[in-house]
Subunit: 326 residues, 2 copies
């Protein structure tokens, strides 16, 4: 198995090469976009030619990220790029339509914190002990004397805060809190940024929550709670895919619930499963792997072919088997 | 105005006196109970005679706090106590039925972070720059070489985390994050404690949320969102007073909402108002003061005489006046 490239060696490539493309996974979250933007801003400070792409560009709800304009959708044609940097992406093809645009890159750098990362690329640094890829980038920037501007600090803070559920999830360490303190000293306004991250969702999101609570279902002797969203209800509420994010946490938080599942009916006969486990007794990643998905032990997902009701029964039955052994 | 007593002087009293009673406000939150227990455990480490009281004892939802058994309801009769320590209590009579039990105390110590604290007591240390009273206690324990055990660290972490909305609210500084890091190094298990704080509520809390969302109302050109709970609905759901906590944050978080109000019908013709402001444009404390209440600029409350509908109209009208000047 390929060993980790030291961060100093990655920093050396950042300093000596000229043309970079930075990418992260489709359906990007705060860690993916925060890292993409922070890395792009760092390289610009170094005077590099930088493009930053995401298959979906930057959703409006992330427009509070300073420097977000730097991220565009990828061009259809292959580009002249020396170094392709892939951040927070557990499988290479999850960069989606960025892939053809960087097919001619000389060097691939893969920085991630997902333990399941298959270590694609030339320079690979995977640290599953980091609760967010943003934490690894902080160590890279600070540890290797790379630029760290106020705008970069904001992006890294968002990356870390969102991926740790506001500094709560397993994997959050004293070091994570120290890094947050240093980012605040570098200029982050905690209250302002927290409001933008956590207290600024559209009214329809609460309406969606109300609709989802009406589908709440308990299985496995109340140790599994699940909710479901049909395309019809989503259309009726005008719900956007990103409105769902975090809603599953409401049902995971119920006393006695070990695992929470969110079933979202997608077009073309598919269902998106999001799975959250409360603790190490239930491995969400292993369960999702049974359905071709993956992720972390406490948070994983899969896209599954089939009708909503059929997928629900299959998955809930697999969960029941995992919990009770039956 | 009475000046602040340096923490070192307070530490000296803790070291030299023998019989202490520790108290905090009625309807205690994580900061109130975490501080009460941490202080009690510290004094026990010093070999002191300690009682810790809260009018309501410790609600079941706080039974995860290590050492919570130390806190009892106050006795009806005055006790032989040298030093009364009041923590996180913005007005002296908010210690409720603890007051008669400590009427013979020689020395009153008042440690708090509420800017409106009238500085009652003999030794007073009010630091409105601290986002939680737990942060002041940390500085007291660490800065003055007092004991700081693992159990105390857990209690201080809960005090700080719950009073900052998981390290998000205005007032949270780099120092707050550094203290969290130090508490983690002292033994706090972040994920475990976070689950107990934020991911362990009874099923009826979600049912309550669903019911409250059905009362959601927008006023002041959608800049004010409010919800209401009647005694009838509370009884039907079997809701306990503590089930409400934090539910108001859901409506404060709606885009464009500046102020969120929660009206809770109480027995005997009273209504409990909880008010949350999104930023400095709206002063929740000033609004609540109009109705005999108080608190912080971003989070305040009041108990108001009157029928629910009548109180709603009065308060929403006052909010409208404050927002629009009409």
């Amino acid at each position: 198995m390929k060993t980790d490239t030291p961060l100093a060696e990655i920093a050396e490539v950042l300093r000596t090469r000229q043309r970079f493309a930075i990418m992260s996974h489709v359906r990007p979250d705060g860690d993916a976009l925060g890292c993409t933007i922070a890395m792009a801003l760092c390289l610009r400070q170094l005077g590099k030619d930088v493009v930053a792409w995401n298959e979906e560009g930057v959703l409006e709800k992330f427009h509070y990220l300073p420097g977000h304009e730097i991220v565009t959708q990828p061009p259809a044609e292959p580009q002249e790029v020396e170094v392709a940097i892939v951040l927070d992406t557990s499988v290479q093809d999850r960069i989606g339509r960025c892939l053809p645009a960087v097919k001619h890159a000389d060097v691939w750098i893969n920085i991630d914190h997902h333990v399941t990362n298959p270590r694609f690329g030339d320079l690979v640094h995977i640290d599953p002990s980091a609760p967010a890829t943003g934490q690894i980038l902080y160590e890279l920037f600070r540890g290797c004397d790379l630029p760290l501007t106020y705008e970069m600090a904001d992006n890294l803070y968002v990356a870390i805060s969102t991926d740790t559920g506001s500094f709560q999830y397993s994997g959050t360490t004293a070091r994570t809190y120290e890094i947050a303190a240093e980012l605040i000293r570098a200029g982050v306004n905690v209250a302002d940024l927290s409001r933008k991250m956590y207290e600024n969702y559209p009214r329809r999101r609460l309406e969606l929550l109300r609709a989802l609570l009406n589908t709440l279902r308990f299985t496995s002797a109340d140790r599994c709670a699940s909710i479901a969203l049909t395309q019809a209800v989503a259309a009726q509420l005008g719900a956007l895919p990103e409105d769902n994010e975090g809603l599953i946490d409401h049902i995971r938080a119920i006393q006695g619930v070990q695992v929470a599942a969110f079933f979202e009916e997608l077009p073309e006969g598919k269902v998106r499963l999001s799975l959250r486990s409360k603790d190490e007794r239930f491995n969400a990643s292993a369960l999702c792997a049974q359905f071709g998905g993956g992720g972390h032990p406490l948070a994983a997902g899969a896209r599954i072919n089939g009708a909503l009701a059929e997928v629900q029964e299959k998955v809930l039955s697999a969960i029941d088997h995992a919990i009770t052994g039956n």
